[in-house]
């Protein structure tokens, strides 16, 4: 197992390097730059000075080498667009919020998803299958930029139970988490149903039932372990998706997470901030995939020795 983890960790290095390199050049290929003035022209002398200050006048390879040297020392530089904080500070400030939102959303997704999926799988093609699965279908189809405002309309504006936006009180966090979690809950439900359905039809389940075990015990002890496999495989991408894909929800609910910062950085051509945000996400996705691999290996010996 240790060897398995080490091997995966080592493979991160070239992947990370490739991401840095591609990103560095790709964002510089995009038309426009961080300093070009806006609706108002900026005096050329000032623009020149800005480019010089942020090392944008040097030849591209030189900029790249300088960036790598700084990166190796853990220095991501100041944000070009929001100069009073460094990229590291922005990430420290905003990433925990995304992490927190993603965590709640994942809880929502797992709780709702498993309940619906398992319920459905127990009595296939009956009303207890159709109802949760129809909801799951709807959940997949409604994008969160629709779901969010609808939830706000009902729970905040009509009923007045929850705040419309913000991220200060505990109640502020309910609607964004629900909005972000629901679509994933739908996927989890479908995957859990499929996995459970398959496992429940197998011989060892029949054996367990034949032994006279209670239905609860059969499901929880025997079926679940195999039945959750597809969901676990989905968790890696889902967790990454919840974190990187949260920008729409962040915008709707005024959540100060990294997702919005990331998208704004792209629009503002804030090179340093954009690099920083993408690198954080890249590391995160790599780690999630590793964790999922480890869990899968633990659950299923065939993966471990395969």
């Amino acid at each position: 197992m240790t060897k398995f983890i080490l091997r995966r960790l080592l493979s991160f290095i070239p992947v990370f390097f490739i991401i840095v390199t591609m990103l560095f050049f790709l964002i510089r290929i995009a038309p426009g730059g961080p300093f070009q003035g806006g609706e108002r022209a900026v005096p050329p002398e000032v623009l020149e000075k800005l480019r010089e200050t942020y090392n944008l006048n040097a030849p591209l390879y030189r900029q790249y080498v300088d960036y790598l040297v700084d990166l190796a020392q853990g220095d991501l530089g100041p944000s070009m667009y929001q100069p009073s904080r460094t990229v590291t500070e922005w990430v420290q400030l905003r990433f925990p919020v995304s992490l927190e939102l993603g965590f709640y959303a994942l809880l929502v997704a797992m709780t709702l998803g498993f309940l619906a999926g398992i319920t459905a799988a127990l009595r296939p093609n009956t009303i207890t299958d159709y109802v949760p699965m129809s909801f799951a279908m709807v959940g997949i189809c409604i994008p969160n930029f629709v779901l969010g405002p609808v939830l706000v309309l009902i729970f905040a504006l009509k009923l007045g139970w929850l705040p419309v936006a913000g991220w200060a009180d505990p109640l502020d966090k309910v609607l964004p988490s629900l909005t972000l979690g629901t679509a994933y809950a739908a996927y989890v439900a479908r995957l859990a149903r499929g996995g459970m359905f398959e496992v429940l039809a197998q011989d060892f389940i029949r054996t367990a039932r034949a032994k006279g075990l209670s239905e609860t015990r059969v499901i929880l002890r025997h079926a679940l372990r195999g039945g959750v496999q597809p969901v676990i495989a989905f968790l890696g991408p889902a967790a990454a998706g919840l974190l990187t894909g949260s920008f729409v929800v962040e915008q709707i609910f005024q959540v100060p997470g990294l997702g919005k910062q990331f998208v704004d950085a792209a629009f503002n051509r804030d090179y340093t901030m954009l690099m920083g945000a993408v690198l954080v996400y890249a590391v995160l996705i790599l780690c999630f995939n590793l964790v999922v691999d480890v869990i899968q290996a633990w659950l299923d010996p065939r993966v471990r020795y395969g």
């Binding site: 995009a30 038309p31 426009g32 730059g33 300093f35 070009q36 003035g37 806006g38 609706e39 108002r40 022209a41 900026v42 005096p43 050329p44 002398e45 000032v46 000075k49 800005l50 200050t53 100041p78 667009y81 929001q82 100069p83 009073s84 904080r85 460094t86 922005w90 400030l93 905003r94 927190e100 965590f103 709640y104 809880l107 797992m110 709780t111 309940l115 405002p149 706000v152 905040a156 504006l157 007045g160 705040p163 419309v164 936006a165 913000g166 991220w167 200060a168 009180d169 505990p170 966090k173 915008q251 709707i252 609910f253 005024q254 100060p256 919005k260 910062q261 629009f267 503002n268 051509r269």
Partner: protein
């Protein structure tokens, strides 16, 4: 399930414990929706309108304006005199004026602030606002290294003498702009050099400011909270205890926050929401004039748009009234000139009206009767629903009125700017919001080779008139020169004015003393809340 829920609730509670200990919130707090998270809170580094909103609460320039009439009133300076040639301004700093840490405010703080803003190493994108001071431009560009040669002198702690490069009658009203705000040398240099862009001096707890309020909390993308500055010279007349700014980044979220009472007013209602509010809640809706012009630029270097008759034909074939009514839901008024009407007492006499007959005649004269032989024209705009609907309306009008084929091209903001600056377009959506209250601000955009020209258009008589107006001392003659310049601009039509902006606000009846003025200036001193009045 129960465990999961318990964990969820506990985690949520735990993460907000510090927020709960923030103390009692006063009811006398104005809550405002800010459109975006500010790029910075450094008055010498920012360029945006949101930043203007924020910084005006924390800092104060030499003058302020009356919230209602926009008349120039004393700010940090209690009085001033102007020399006969309009070139030398002598300000007396208010002896009661202090920084938020209690340090007395002096004339030197202004000189220091301006030296900082003009230093090339700081590389401020808005430093050109100060170029009307003698030698400021040369110093800013690094051609001059001795700040003593720049026309800003502190004669003593209480006296500030400013020598201008040319008489700028708007100089006093301009002082409300953040580019002119003073900063405290000891505060700046406690956190870095005078020209350090990445300084931490603007953080809450670090910043010392001289305005009616001081910064107490800056939690990016969540809240910026300013509280009454007890050292402010006119603190007795500041009615609010605090202001909270919520950066929303989303116009729909802003509107919902207003509905729920989270904020007292929002300044950018979506045009599509106007009708609903007119019908259901007219008492909170305010549609007011604003000094900004929405217009199209023509690329005068590209045939057939190099022919002024073609440009004028196109400009005359736009039914502006219909755009304002149908596309903008009445939240705009037709613009027939570049300058918005009644700008500091100036209304353009020349105009481009909607006149299909005349437009067809111009097009025929240029050699394209009924649009025959004219290649398709492309309208470029940046990604936004309003811009798209306007471009489509104009596309229809040009086809219908002139039989000209039009295509539209939507680009992302930075790409659009790039294309516009490189003159890689036929017709491009543009706008100009006045930096200061004077028609000169509009006219100077289109001088030959000017950074804001962006049309390739050049006219010697126009340049001469603008230059003469710049150095003209007599106000009547000065406006006459600008009238002549604008007449040339509209005659040759490198631009087609479309509409004058209007502000679209939702204001809670709670808010008092909020007289909306056409420059969107907020003098927070005049604000109060109904519920807080005893």
């Amino acid at each position: 399930m129960r465990t999961a829920l318990t964990i969820l609730v506990l985690a949520a509670l735990a993460s907000t414990l510090p927020a709960c200990s923030g103390g009692e919130k006063s009811s006398n707090t104005l809550r405002v929706a800010a459109d975006t998270e500010p790029a910075a809170l450094d008055p010498h580094l920012v360029t945006g309108f949101t930043e203007h909103r924020l910084l005006t609460s924390m800092f104060e320039g030499l003058t302020t304006l009356n919230q209602k009439t926009l008349a120039v009133e004393p700010g940090a300076a209690e009085s001033w005199t102007v020399s006969d040639d309009g070139l030398v301004y002598t300000f007396k700093i208010n002896p009661k004026a202090k920084w938020s840490d209690g340090t007395p405010l002096t004339a030197k703080d202004f000189v220091y602030g301006w030296r900082r803003h003009l230093s090339l190493n700081l590389a401020s994108e808005y430093s050109y606002m100060l170029w009307c001071i003698k030698n400021a431009e040369a110093y800013n560009k690094g051609q001059l290294t001795d700040f003593d040669e720049v026309g800003a002198k502190a004669l003593d702690d209480a006296t500030l003498e400013v020598t201008l490069a040319y008489p700028a009658p708007y100089f006093l009203s301009m002082q409300i702009h953040y580019s002119w705000f003073p900063v405290l040398q000891s505060n700046i240099e406690a956190f870095g050099k005078i020209d350090d862009r990445n300084s931490k001096w603007t953080r809450a707890g670090n910043m010392v400011s001289n305005g009616p309020f001081k910064l107490v909390e800056w939690n990016p993308n969540q809240i910026i909270r300013v509280e009454r500055n007890e050292h402010y010279w006119d603190a007795a007349n500041v009615k609010l205890d605090a202001i909270e700014f919520y950066p929303m980044q989303n116009l729909l979220t802003e509107e919902r926050s207003f509905q729920s009472g989270k904020v007292h007013f929002i300044e950018t209602l979506l045009a599509t929401k106007i009708e609903t509010y007119r019908k259901e809640k007219p008492e909170v809706l305010r549609i007011e004039p604003f000094i900004g012009t929405y217009f199209y630029r023509f690329n005068t270097t590209r045939p057939p748009l190099d022919d002024p008759r073609v440009r004028r034909a196109l400009a005359m074939a736009i039914d502006r009234q219909s755009i304002c009514d149908s596309v903008m839901y009445g939240a705009a008024s037709p613009a027939v000139a570049l300058t918005p009407p009644e700008l500091a007492g100036y209304t353009a006499k020349a105009r481009i009206d909607f006149n299909v007959e005349e437009a067809r005649r111009f097009l025929a004269e240029a050699g394209y009767p009924n649009g025959q032989g004219l290649r398709p024209i492309e309208i470029l705009f940046n990604d936004s629903e309003d811009h798209e609907r306007i471009a489509e309306a104009i596309q229809d009008m040009w086809k219908l009125n002139l039989n000209v084929e039009v295509t539209t091209n939507k680009q992302e903001w930075k790409v659009y700017l790039n294309t516009m600056n490189a003159l890689g377009y036929d017709v491009v959506r543009s706008a100009w919001i006045a930096d200061y209250l004077d028609p000169m601000n509009y006219m100077e955009c289109f001088v030959t080779g000017g950074g804001n020209n962006r049309t390739g258009w050049s006219s010697k008589p126009y340049d001469d008139l603008v230059e003469q107006a710049r150095y003209c001392v007599d106000p009547v003659q000065r406006y006459e020169l600008l009238q002549q310049a604008e007449a040339i601009l509209l005659e040759e039509a490198p631009i087609a004015p479309i509409y004058t902006y209007k502000q679209k606000l939702l204001v809670s009846p709670e808010v008092q003393g909020y007289d909306i003025n056409p420059i969107g200036y907020l003098n927070y001193r005049s604000f109060s809340l109904a519920s807080a009045t005893p």
